[in-house]
Amino acid sequence: MKLHGKLAAVLAISTCLTTPALADGDTITVGFATAESGFMQAYDKPAQDAAMIRIDEINAAGGLLGKQIKVVTADTKTDRAEGAKAGLSVIDQGADLVVVSCDYDFGAPAALAAEAAGKVSFFLCAESIKAGIQGVGPHSFSASVLAAVQGATMAQWAYEKKGARDFYRLLDNWTEYNKGICDGFDWMLPKLPDAKLVGEDTFKNDDASIAAQITRIKSLPKEPDAIMLCTMMPGAVSAIKQIRAAGITAPILNGSGVDGSYWLSAVPDLSNFFVPVQGSIYGDDPNADVTKFNATYKTKTGGDPSSQYVYPGYVMIDLWAKAVERAKSTDADAVVAELEKMKDEPTIFGTRTFTPELHHQNQARYLIVDVEKGQPKVVDQWTISEPIPVSALMK
């Protein structure tokens, strides 16, 4: 029975390796069920670093409710089944707040595990309405702003400030995020008097060429006043390059997904290119605290923030900690009730609002970054005139 002996040994080893989790009454625990490996790591890690900065600040100032915040982590490996395990793992380690992956699809299994255990969960930077009540449950929140707000912001800002009237809409229907940006644009456009859609088209992120789509833009009687480009990395660079190479110089409006200067060298001298951001990584944010945060981030991680997607991590801990202070407890229902009372709650990246219907931002201040000759800088800020209703988001 050699085989049985081996099996028994494996079982014995696995039993020894499992250490029981101990609850600790003197600390408050934040559990990160995020990707430490796999492609989501590139999104989760920066936002998590930002969250750690806020946690360190709170601990240095005496902690939360007089207790230090302890951090526990579990790797989702950018895998959904592992995500569920990671969620359960941080809950077993006593997490009072479960922080899950940036993306709804990859964060949902851990968030659902937290929901079932009656814990508050926060998506690091998911921008789909499903990341919250609609797709997880009443204890789930997202720290970012809905993708639709980005599209609506760009449409209204270009209309008001750039005098754009004839819009063209180019959608990369690869992800929910891309569709979300264009959904927001679609909602805003009819509200703008005499603005009209002169054409629309779709492509896929991994299309090698969008020549057909470009030909259709070129064959319009007159170049559109603005092109709403709903796409994300990595396909965005190729699309932008092809549009400019074809001689189309119209302003290109984008979602926040293309923020960052890391790719700009691929499209030399890019101009007339506009991106909405929650805070500026370029050192010119109107709020000096953001620039200070960027410096702290550089000291802690050794690099500048690569895009605005680091900021939601900081906002998340900031808001949650405030709710815990006000609820005087980490009890999930009490904390959710306090979060839902937040209306225009100030953060260094603008105000945030949660309601019992929506645990996400359907209206938020965005800074407008303009790229001119390959140099990005903040030129304006804009808040859409009215929040996008939940019914328009749930289609």
């Binding site: 050699k2 079982l11 080893i13 579990a74 569920a84 499903k130 749930m394």
Partner: protein, 353 residues
């Protein structure tokens, strides 16, 4: 040799394999850790899927790359049947109204999902089972790509590429254990049935088998439909284990994970299918713990993140170098008889005495 004697001589295999799974479940119960419980749920689901693969691949000798498609069919069927009707209305507006109004308990849904997947396996198999060898493998791969494309794009019914949520999550271990045991017994019953014996005869000696009057496409079709149903059951339970389904969960990643577990364990052996999963899953788990860090004295020892996949790959290569037919080859786990070890060559595999 009569049927009853085959039954008596081979029944020890599924019983022993089931006992190993029961022992794992008991250990999990005693440990009482939720992530470990989830790991075991994962393990049992893999056992179901790999046993599903074995029913067809092991007995027919035709490698199928398409069985994950049946898990996809099962997973989505479970989602359609168990998501609360209110949520279905907004998430999946294209469902027929009778399906949108249905709300079944998970175990009923899982059984229907298995039948549904088996039915489609029967339909596809009717066409595909005429092919043999590499042509059949490629055709099954095309089947996988086709199902994946349909489920990724039929947005109003499947939710497209977005996650379908609202599936009730079942965190109790025993339903998965029962399903895995059922899968093992189904595989065993098929293997010793007339159809199973005929199919293995056709695998080893197709010409002789045909000459003996075996209708090879028909026997393959039986195994294909049965394995499709078991995969469907696995897919349905996967959906209930994490509460989310997406088309890309049931695609290349799962296909290669399950196939490699079957190959490492031994394609032609039920023991190989089950213990391949158990051993590889436990290995993965141990590597995970090492990655997370193990306290040794005052310091802690941790492997760099991502090393788990590399070490797993190296170990799998080593196993296949040393034992090209997999860990168990064609052996099955049986009760020791005088003068023999725990594993015996399968004299029961249809070879004449």
């Amino acid at each position: 040799m009569t049927r009853t004697s085959i039954l008596r001589r081979t029944v020890a295999t599924p019983v022993l394999l089931s006992l190993i799974l029961v022992a794992l479940a008991l250990v999990t119960y005693l440990i009482g850790s939720r992530p470990f419980n989830q790991t075991m749920i994962d393990l049992f689901i893999r056992v179901i899927m790999v046993v599903g693969l074995y029913i067809f691949i092991g007995n027919s000798g035709v490698i199928s790359f398409g069985h994950t498609a049946f898990a996809c069919l099962g997973g989505y069927m479970a989602a359609w049947l168990t998501i609360p009707p209110m949520m279905k209305g907004t998430l999946l507006p294209g469902l027929p109204s009778w399906l949108a109004a249905i709300h079944l308990p998970f175990w009923v849904a899982a059984m229907i999902a298995a039948v549904w997947a088996g039915l489609w396996a029967l339909i596809f198999g009717r066409i595909l089972m005429r092919l043999s060898g590499i042509a059949a493998s490629i055709a099954t791969f095309a089947l996988l790509a086709m199902i994946n494309t349909i489920y990724s794009n039929w947005s109003s019914v499947t939710g497209g590429t977005s996650s379908v949520v609202g599936i009730p999550i079942v965190r109790a271990l025993w339903p998965y254990l029962i399903a895995a045991v059922v899968a093992i017994f189904v595989a065993w019953a098929h293997a010793i049935s007339r159809a199973g014996l005929a199919l293995r005869a056709a695998r080893d000696e197709p010409t002789a088998a045909m000459a003996s009057g075996i209708d090879i496409p028909r026997e393959r079709l039986v195994a294909f439909a049965l394995s499709g149903a078991v995969m469907g059951l696995g897919g349905a339970l996967y959906a209930h284990s994490i509460g989310v389904v997406t088309p890309d969960t049931f695609y290349l990643g799962l296909t290669f994970t399950t196939l490699s577990m079957l190959v490492v364990g031994g394609m032609s052996s039920l023991t190989g299918a089950v213990l391949g999963v158990v051993l590889l899953s436990l290995l993965i788990q141990v590597l995970r713990w090492l990655e997370a860090g193990v306290p040794i004295g005052t310091s802690s020892f941790a492997l760099p993140n991502g090393l788990q996949e590399i070490v797993l790959g190296i170990i799998m290569i080593l196993i296949l170098m040393r034992r090209p037919a997999g860990l168990f080859g064609r052996s099955e786990l049986t009760l020791p008889r005088p003068g023999q070890g725990g594993t015996t060559p399968r004299t029961t595999a249809g070879t004449p005495p």
